[in-house]
């Protein structure tokens, strides 16, 4: 009897904890979850230090066929160039747990970007999944855009056609590009939440 009661209390505690952590989720129009994490170049990136700049978070896994589609075609690298040229901070996030697909050390991450001719501002190494879970990143790629005020203004896919086929890129609506131009025009992002597509993020549990 007592044990059952304790279990119940534990369960209620668990549920309410869950809902609490869920309320801290990444919601459009709300402050983006804060984070601080190790980067591929050995530095530490703190989101709060980037206030005043637009920040893009891009979940990635270099072996995922969806990621390859956008890197081998040059789609994401050119978006990165376009963004950083405008002063936007573009952060790749690698959440793949140790031993799982896409998990690399900082040096390898930099080499892969060099191979892909990709120039993000930096790459966050999130093998313990802390940042991934805070943002509830689900796929690679999965894109989040945070405005200079630190508010989340976009979450979702890179574009509108979920496939691994490179030929679809030109036919798809590029949501990230659209978000950039909305932000540049001082307008709210029209399509602020879209369906992300890709491989699942390889969390540790």
């Amino acid at each position: 009897m007592l044990i059952r009661h304790l279990l119940k209390i534990a369960l209620i505690g668990f549920v309410s904890f869950n809902s609490l952590s869920a309320s801290a989720e990444a919601t459009i129009g709300k402050p983006a979850p804060a984070f601080s994490g190790a980067a591929a170049d050995g530095s530490t990136v703190n989101l709060s230090a980037l206030k005043g700049k637009t920040v893009v978070l891009e979940w990635t896994n270099h072996d995922c066929p969806y990621v390859k589609k956008h890197y081998e075609s040059g789609n994401i690298p050119s978006l990165q160039k376009e963004a950083t040229a405008k002063g936007i901070v573009w952060l790749q996030v690698i959440t793949s747990a140790p031993g799982s697909q896409g998990n690399v050390d900082g040096k390898t991450a930099i080499q892969i970007n060099a191979y892909n001719n990709a120039k993000p501002t930096n790459t966050l190494l999130d093998a313990d999944g802390k940042i991934g879970k805070a943002y509830e990143a689900q796929t690679t790629p999965h894109i989040f855009i945070i405005n200079p005020q630190g508010v989340l203004v976009y979450k979702g896919g890179i574009d509108s056609i979920a496939s691994t086929n490179k030929n679809d890129i030109s036919r798809a609506e590029n949501y990230v590009k659209a978000a950039f131009s909305d932000l540049a025009a001082g307008k709210p992002v029209a399509k602020s939440s879209t369906k992300p597509y890709g491989c699942s993020v390889k969390y540790s549990s």
């Binding site: 691994t164 491989c199 699942s200």
Partner: protein, 727 residues
Amino acid sequence: MMTATARYFFRVIQIGVVTLLLGYSAGHAFAASSVADTEHVRAELIASVDKVYPGAEIELGINERIIPHWHTYWQNSGDSGEPTTIQWTLPRGVNAGEIQWPIPKRFSIGPVTNYGYEHEVTLLSAVKVPANAVIGGVFPIHAKVGWLVCNEICIPETVELNLNLPIVAKGSATGKGSPLIEKARKTLPQVSPWSASVEYQQHQLLLRISGNASLNTQANDLYFYPLQWGRILHNVVQTPSVDGNTLVLKLKPGEAPVKPSENLSGVLVVSENRGGEQVATGYVINAAISAASSPIINLTAEANESANLGLPAALLLALLGGVILNLMPCVFPVLSIKALSLLSHVHQEPLQTRLHGLAYTLGILVSFSLLAGLLIALKAGGAQIGWGFQFQSPVFVLVVAYLMFGVGLSLSGVFTIGNSVVGVGSSLAQRSGYSGSFFTGVLATIVATPCTAPFMGAALGYALAQSPVVLLSVFLSLGLGLALPYLLLSSWPYLQRWLPRPGVWMERVKQGLAFPMYLAAVWLIWVLAQQRGANAIAVALGGMVAIAFAAWLYGITRNSKTSTRHGSTAIAVIAVLIALTGGYAGVLANPANAKLSNAKLKNEIAATKSQNWEPYSSEKLQSLLAQGKPVFLNFTAAWCISCLANERVTLSDSKVIAAFKNSGITYLKGDWTNQDVQITQFLKEFGRSGVPLYVAYPANRKDGKAVKPVVLPQILTPEIVVNAVKL
């Protein structure tokens, strides 16, 4: 040891080679085969037949056998992944139907939840062979199938499959085809036997599945798979709970939540342990969003009002409603007849008078228990019903019309029956006739059902959502209320002194009361016309002539010789039987034709210039509310007297029409004359089980916020409506 970079490049080269090989093999080696293997999946193109004939409708399937621990995806792949795609290449003019997706499973890795299949799955598509296919030739089928197969990692794979089916003459053997097709059919979701609705409540989305007579809520696993991405959060636990006979699944709205004008579609999968084996059954769910609970307009308080009504309050309201029912136009003639018969008993023993009162009460109570029993049984069967539901059956309407007509004939003196079935035909001075009193009670109940008296709505709405015992007690309380005035009158001699003395005038009044009965019959025939069209009127009127003939024949031969009397009684019985069976067959026949004439009728109504209302649909209501426009809702039925009275007297009043016009209100009218699950659901939201229901939705405030809708009383006056609209 290789460096990471070298390993990476090696991997790239390796994959490139594999891709080349695969591309080569897909293009050549397997081009003519119905089977193709990849590293993770063996795919086979199968058909429901071995041969086809011109015009045959067949099913094609893509069978995927997936290596252990890997999975492919459902039509909504969940948080990541991609559904299997099939590109068919078929002879010119032939199109394959959409993929029929078997019920999925869910796979969770960390916070990512996916919907898909492991081990084996067969995706079916229907295809029709063209009628001009040449016998002796082949029907070539080519499919390019692409899937994403994942365990921890994901691999996109593509194969090309071919199958040639010989074309034979129609009638020759076509073979059994692949047994996998039949196996796959068994894994498809079924049509749901339940009704479903969704409701936003704070940050949750409640999916209600009701009438779940056979839904095992104790099943090991209950899970709702949404058809579209973003409708709900896939990775949140769906907590089931049971509320009466309704299963409630708590869902969390996702990134693309259901909008007021949309439905939440998906598959409810129930997994049960049957004899040590897990059996999963899927049901297609298409849940309309509750009008009362859209994310824009929250008015749950209003809807819950009657649901929260306690039993004592419900019993009291039912009793009051029953008393008032006596004054309703449908019951009043019957009651007057009863009151007259009371006069004739006045000078009898008080005991006898009292017994008559009790017999009448008993008649009402027995009928109400039968009605309650029927409701309970139908509810258990999952039917969406409410007060007055029996009038949604055209046969019932016809029988009651005949009954009214028969009673009218009897009152007019065309015939009298000894201890008349309805107790009114008997000479009013007749001493005995407790059975007559009993059946008057039954009659009063039958004619009372289309009327909803004030107070009754809330009580019945409450009762219908409760256990059978509560439902029965509320119904009995209602019946007691209906019987009460007469019961008091008959058992309280003091009251009787106020009644006038009996005399010849009673006979005149009795005859006069025949006319309300004829009018009632006319009204019911009109109801029938709404339900079943013009042909039904002819059938019903023909039946009435047969009944009149029977009554007349019976009446004139009453005092004849025994043989003549028996002969004519037999003929009369046959005439009545003809009226009933002919009416039954005539009314049920040709529903399509009826629909046509019904539509025509509606068109005619719509064509009249004075119409200031539009037909109700939940989509229309939602879109109006979403725009913040004011709406007046009227739920009515042709057989509902109170509804018609309100429409004729109040809602057609020039003041009301002007008020509607001035406030720019849209007047929507929902017709519940025939079964309509949508409307029944809506009534339920407001704790009602029957019509009428009047709801005024005011326009949004200036700050754009929605104002709570107002439920108006069931008896309307122009003032009530005008004031409600002004708000």
